[in-house]
């Protein structure tokens, strides 16, 4: 059944890409909405108005330069609610005593930024790279350094060059600890990092490096570790293996332990620039932004652009969003649980707690329970980004309960929720049919099919022509249920 997509360069997974392709009729062809669904955590009333005012090109260019976007409100929210995120690694090392507080701060703040940052494409790319170079948060060794990894590896380079990001990750204690390179030495090499550097971070498992290449990769990176007294990255010449190494086209005599760090840096940059890495990142970007079946032509084009621009990511994104393959892929992706949560928050116009973090933490635990907590995937390969992996009856029930919990303001109740009555058309239509149409346009940016509208009307026990008045259930105590039910519809699942 369907099109099986073998994950060339994406590991050994095979999934059914048609599962998502078939969702296309649920989305309108509107390209403005299409761009917002893909490049942000969900269209809001305000973001759609902004995009329409600016035009797609200008909107995209602005999002590609996140520093040009005034995001003070979100920055101040994070700075005031999570002051510890500003801590240096040294301060965290001195203060936390292996406590996980800072990792929770990072997780909660990541949820908040996704929902409320104006730099939406940037936050989306932060998520993309956090998965590509995954260091699970929270996890045992990240207690003092994972927030710094987020800041100095992922966020610093998310719109920069991948070669810089990959190198920064190779010289960060969070990665060295997470993949055990901190314990790797010439006497006792640990292949975890050397292998994943090839398989996950760069060229991919089918690039042809073989077990010999994997072993050379491990030996090249021996010595990259941490200073156990300070927790900082440190290169240990005494731990570095010397002797000839060969990985794909990278060869070195490797005669000097003193020069081992330079060798490792050159190797990491070589991997970042490798054509297989270019194709792999192009494919993953297509998987995130275009389709569960990445179009081969677009993948090739993006890979070429990546190499032409020395691994710079902005030209690749510009080309992706401007491509005809992207334009044709309306409705070809399905929201993951976290994307559903953020889209729901944004379409309802919800805001963070007036003070404190109770509501934000509520969102964190909610999405943790759905198995899609940002940064938290427990394996090195990052969350799966295709619909087949997220098919789940329990997950679907979670979404339905989440829509109701947010729309009815049950929990987290300390988040701000504008009155749902603001969504009602004024003056009220005379019958129920136009009311459901209006709410659908407000929440889904389209009307539902007649049969689906009838489902909502049936829920209310009315017909399309049943008269509507100011005290009808649909606009009073059942309004939150109607809003939730509309968000439960498959239209809201389409990204």
């Amino acid at each position: 059944m369907g099109t099986a997509v073998a994950g060339a360069g994406l590991g050994s997974l095979v999934w059914d890409a048609d599962l998502a392709e078939a969702a296309a009729p649920l989305a309108t062809k509107d390209q403005d909405l299409h761009l917002l669904r893909r490049a942000t955590y969900g269209p809001s009333k305000a973001s759609l108005a902004e995009l329409k005012r600016m035009g797609r090109n200008a909107w995209l260019e602005r999002q590609l330069r996140p520093d040009s976007i005034d995001d003070r409100a979100c920055d101040e929210l994070i700075a005031s609610r999570f002051p510890r995120l500003g801590w240096s690694m040294d301060k965290a090392w001195a203060e936390l005593d292996f406590g996980w507080d800072l990792m929770f701060d990072l997780g909660v703040s990541t949820v908040a930024r996704a929902a409320w940052s104006e730099r939406q494409l940037f936050e989306t790319m932060v998520d993309f790279w956090s998965n590509h170079l995954n260091v699970s948060n929270p996890s045992d060794n990240g207690w003092y350094c994972r927030h710094d990894y987020d800041r100095t590896v992922i966020r610093r380079h998310a719109m920069g060059k991948f070669s810089d990001m990959l190198l920064a990750s190779a010289e960060h204690p969070a990665m060295m600890l997470y993949l055990n390179n901190a314990e790797s030495s010439k006497e006792d090499p640990n292949e975890n990092y050397g292998r994943e550097l090839l398989e996950l971070h760069s060229v991919g498992v089918d690039a042809g490096y073989g077990e010999d290449g994997m072993w050379s990769s491990t030996l090249i990176m021996t010595g990259f570790g941490i200073d156990w007294d300070t927790g900082h990255f440190r290169y240990w010449p005494d731990a570095h293996h010397t002797g000839p190494v060969k990985v794909l086209g990278f060869r070195a005599r490797n005669g000097s332990a003193r020069k081992g760090r330079d060798l490792g840096r050159a190797y990491v940059r070589y991997l970042a620039r490798h054509p297989a890495t270019a194709r792999r990142i192009a494919r993953k970007l297509c998987l995130r932004f275009v389709s569960d079946a990445p179009p081969p032509g677009l993948v090739n084009d993006l890979a070429a652009t990546y190499r032409r621009n020395d691994t710079a990511i902005v030209p690749v994104l510009r080309q992706l969003f401007g491509s005809s393959a992207f334009k044709d892929a309306v409705g070809a992706k399905i929201r993951r649980p976290f994307q559903d949560l953020t889209a729901t928050l944004r379409i309802l116009g919800m805001g963070p707690d007036a003070s404190g973090t109770e509501g934000l933490q509520g969102l964190y635990w909610m999405i943790e329970g759905f198995g899609d907590l940002p940064l938290a995937w427990s394996q090195p390969d990052g969350y799966p980004d295709y619909a087949d992996a997220w098919r789940s009856a329990g997950g679907t029930l979670n979404r339905w309960n989440m829509h109701m919990s947010l729309a009815a303001h049950w929990w987290p109740s300390s988040l701000k929720l504008p009155p749902l009555e603001n969504m009602l058309p004024r003056p009220l239509p005379k019958t129920h049919g136009p009311l459901i149409d209006a709410l659908s346009r407000r929440l889904l940016f389209r009307t539902m099919s007649e049969a689906h509208r009838d489902a909502v009307l049936g829920f209310l026990g009315v017909g399309a022509h049943t008269p509507l008045s100011a005290d009808s259930e649909a606009v009073t105590w059942r309004l939150s249920s109607v809003v939730a039910l509309i968000l439960d519809s498959p239209y809201h699942q389409v990204r």
Partner: protein, 439 residues
């Protein structure tokens, strides 16, 4: 792939959905959770509009293609100290390594010439003697790993030396015809274990009684919501429609189970704990014939680096008491149905042979596995004992003489109708200990 539609037919739903004021239920507007409502309302009449005996019949029919044992994986997370549970009392080195936290041989429940059970496991002794419980000693992964996180991941991936990212239970289900929404269940958690990771569908639930639509406070409301959700997903693409239909089927079933309620049979008394409730709900699903094939349950907090406690009380004692009580109640409750069930315990690693200075034990390697079920070759401790002499230890750990996957493979082959297990456990050898009888 065969899809079996479990949605109730229209005749199972109320003919008309009457609008209903929330007059009798003011809490609705204040945001009362469904769970608290159910507690107060006592579940009465919850699914009067939907429930019908035909549903059970349909579920039973739908699950017919799978006829093997229900496999239950109980994960003892944190590192279960097998050496202090199934104690190698006759090994002269045992008392030397563990002068303080070791269990004195005099109080053990004798299993054979070598081993005795911790006295807190007394509820299991009868099952052992009756041949329904067995132990496998010195079990482990091919590559020892003392990191909780990595060891759990690796154990549940169960495919060392490959780049497979799926979990072994997912691969087990993936080889079978797709069953009901209840084919694979993680009980006692809203998140499925990584053993289920992959594209086969499973259902994670805190409990049967809490699995529901929060907005539906009674049977009429559930019918109202279910009907609307079903219609809303008509024509939806499979990625959206299939799990929605499964969720609705599961909701219908859980609502029915909630209405019927559950009383353990044969005098079974489950511990009043998360584990007790989870095992009770697994028994409930088995006896309800909802199509359960694989269930996973977690029982954590075994990481006893310090303050393990004494033989008459304390951390280890209390944990073993709860574990044994829950398993014994489960077996009692199932009665004859135990013959269609195999339960296996796993832990990410055993613990260091030598005790530490804090009244506990550190991360180690070789572990003890418990097997419970009608097909288990019980009343014996399987596996080869590597011994506890200094020369026999590996980095201070009990050596593993049996790869854990060979136990699982044997259960799948003999009890669960698996043909070749090579795609579930890549690279697995042909060694089998003979821990279960063929069905």
């Amino acid at each position: 792939m065969t899809t079996i539609d479990l949605t109730p037919t229209p005749d199972q739903l109320p003919a008309t959905i009457e609008p209903r004021k929330p007059c009798g239920c003011p809490d609705y507007e204040r945001g009362m959770s469904r769970r608290s409502f159910l507690k107060r309302a006592g579940l009465s009449g919850l699914v009067a509009g939907i429930a019908s005996q035909t549903m059970f019949t349909r579920l039973a029919f739908a699950s017919a293609p799978y006829s093997g044992d229900v496999l239950i994986v109980l994960s003892l997370r944190g590192g279960f100290d097998g050496l202090n549970a199934i104690v190698p009392a006759a090994d002269p080195d045992y008392a030397t390594w563990r002068p303080n936290v070791g269990i004195p041989s005099g109080i053990l429940l004798q299993l054979d010439g070598m081993f005795g059970m911790h006295p807190a496991m007394a509820p299991l002794k009868g099952l052992y003697d009756a041949g329904q419980l067995a132990v496998v000693q010195a079990v482990g992964m091919a590559e020892p790993n003392r990191s909780h996180f990595q060891a759990m991941e690796e154990m549940e991936r169960a495919a060392p030396g490959t780049s497979l990212r799926t979990g072994w239970l997912d691969r087990v289900l993936g080889l079978r015809e797709e069953g009901t929404a209840f084919q694979g269940v993680q009980m006692g958690s809203s998140m499925a274990a990584s053993a289920f990771r992959g594209s086969s569908s499973e259902l994670a639930m805190w409990s049967v009684d809490s699995f529901g639509l929060d907005a539906a406070w009674d049977a009429d409301e559930l019918a109202r919501w279910s009907g609307a959700l079903r219609e809303l997903h008509q024509g939806a693409p499979p990625a959206i429609g299939q799990p929605a239909r499964s969720a609705l089927a599961a909701l219908t079933t859980t609502a029915q189970l909630q209405q019927v309620g559950y009383a353990p049979e044969n005098g079974a008394a489950y511990p009043d704990s998360d584990l007790g409730r989870a095992m009770r709900d697994v028994a409930r699903l088995i006896k309800s014939d909802v199509g359960l094939q694989v269930a996973a349950v977690d029982y954590g907090d075994w990481d006893m680096h310090a303050g393990m406690g004494g033989v008459g009380g304390g951390w280890l004692h209390d944990h073993l008491t709860e574990l044994s009580g829950a398993l014994a109640a489960f077996a009692t409750d199932l009665g004859p149905r135990l013959s269609d069930v195999t339960l296996v315990t796993l832990t990410e690693f055993g613990r260091r042979v030598e005790e530490n200075g804090s009244g506990g034990t550190d991360h180690g390697h070789g572990q003890a596995v418990l097997l419970l079920g009608g097909g288990v070759r019980g009343a014996q401790v399987h596996g080869q004992g590597p011994g506890l002499s200094p020369g026999a230890l590996v980095d201070g750990d009990l050596a593993a003489t049996t790869e854990y996957r060979t136990i699982l493979a044997e259960i799948l082959e003999k009890r669960c109708g698996a043909g070749s297990v090579g795609s579930i456990f890549p690279g697995i050898g042909s060694q089998r200990l003979g821990v279960v009888n063929a069905r």
